[in-house]
Symmetry: C2
Subunit: 295 residues, 2 copies
């Protein structure tokens, strides 16, 4: 574990540096809240700049760099990925979904702006993100992201997550939810970085496998943190998964087995990177960061 903590130092620096760069671009790419509809633009910016690790932009950029990508279009994609992630958080927090009042220590969008504005700000971030992805000029990028978000991806995962609440579920179902709800977009973020750097399908496959593994690991660790951390550390209600009867790794296989699973996913992600000729130093460190993060 101490080795992994050392490994993750580079990732932390990278996430901070690239996260700051991504935030600058996001501010440019979002409509101004001095323009109509002001309240809607204000709500979009509120949720976008309420903190967050900027993991998806960093993953896209790290992959772009790993394949020696050139040009500025990666920032369009990086901004779009964070918008799509934020869209999913806003809608997931709604009263009819997970009904959460706090996110990253701040009131959720519907608490701050009301439900109608929250729904519309999520819709708008999703649509705006697709506009930015299109501006990269690559229809393949748009298609990759749409596939990872739709009923075969994130939205599909959220649907099964909600349907499974309070019911006994199998490990297979938890895997389905975690892969679709979380890993699919993480995987797609990497693939988009690779596409924009001009990587071939053959070069992309190991990156996809890496993304699958770290995406699942990210969610398993999230499940563990929900149990082990305090509300203050999480910035949202601790133990809320348990309270809501959410399908999680610890609830199905226990806490120790979940930790073991997270570490195995880490190892699997590194094995995937061993199959690529890309410069994967940062991606390796990000994998270590994901399994050792304390939030």
């Amino acid at each position: 574990m101490s080795n992994l903590l050392e490994e993750s130092v580079l990732a932390k620096e990278y996430l901070k540096r690239v996260g700051d760069m991504a935030e600058l671009r996001m501010r440019e790419h979002l409509p101004l809240d001095t323009n109509e509809p002001k309240r809607l633009h204000e709500a979009m910016r509120y949720s976008m700049f309420a903190g967050g690790k900027r993991l998806r932009p960093a993953l896209a950029y790290a992959t772009f760099e790993a394949f020696h990508g050139k040009g500025d279009s990666i920032w369009l994609a990086a901004s779009a990925l964070e918008m799509l992630h934020t869209f999913s958080l806003i809608h997931d927090d709604l009263p009819c979904m997970d009904d959460d009042d706090f996110r990253r220590g701040m009131p959720t969008a519907h608490k701050k702006f009301g439900e109608a504005t929250a729904v519309l700000s999520g819709d708008a971030l999703c649509i705006h993100a697709f506009g930015l992805l299109a501006k990269t000029g690559s229809a393949q990028v748009v298609e990759t992201i749409a596939h990872s978000l739709g009923t075969s991806g994130m939205i599909g995962g959220q649907m099964i997550d909600i349907e499974s609440e309070g019911k006994p579920v199998s490990l297979e179902t938890v895997d389905y939810i975690h892969y679709h709800k979380t890993a699919a977009l993480i995987e797609a973020s990497l693939v988009v970085g690779a596409i924009l750097a001009g990587a071939s399908e053959e070069q992309i496959q190991p990156i996809r496998d890496y993304g699958h593994a770290i995406g699942l690991a990210f969610q398993v660790v999230d499940d563990i943190l929900d149990i082990e951390q305090t509300t203050e550390q999480l910035g949202k209600d601790a133990g809320s998964d348990l309270e809501k009867g959410k399908a999680t790794y610890p609830s199905v296989i226990g806490l120790d087995a979940s930790k073991k699973q997270a570490f195995e996913l880490y190892e699997s992600s590194i094995r995937a990177l061993d199959r690529t000729t890309a410069d994967t130093k940062v991606l390796r460190s990000i994998a270590a960061f994901i399994v050792t993060r304390v939030n």
Copy 2:
């Protein structure tokens, strides 16, 4: 008026014929409700096949034909346009928005499937539509639609619509709402048909102006029908705009002036078509249909 009714006969036949063709493609392009998440796919299909004029697919196809377009990608776009329209209806009907129980004579999505599934089915249709638009291979098509849907288009119109409820509004505000909420996507449907047929920007401009005019006319007529038709004719509650204090043309300038306005928009749309060399017979007829429709 009797001339316009004659003019609109061709449009009615065209909407029926192209609408049927579009429905076949939509059935192909939507995920099967025998696949997981079944209930989500069922909800998407329920709202997509609950009737509707299929106006946006027909407008895209008519413009594609007007510019002698070739190939099959227009059907991807046509299906996507109807999905995007349906997404907007599902979210507009939600309890936190317009809180409507019926649409086209059937229970609205949230009444039939619950609110969480309704929100997610709208999200999924939006995302799926962008995937289909990307499959046309044209990033310009994706960008055009994203622009017409976001805060500078449909979602922006919906936001101001909701903010204006129950307040005295100016004609300028009603124009803003109607243009953004309704006309922007109608205009973009035409533009996408033209792009996919290979039309130049110079050729597209008159089509854009036509779309602006018929898009506004469509919504003005909708306002008039809400007052003059019965609940049975409408398939939703008659007089509901008035009851909700919605910003409409009749509420701001009166019923007679609204009818005059609809006719002037019709004339303006025809003048726009006079400036193009495309074969606009069907588009002319659709304009006549829009101002004479009884639902």
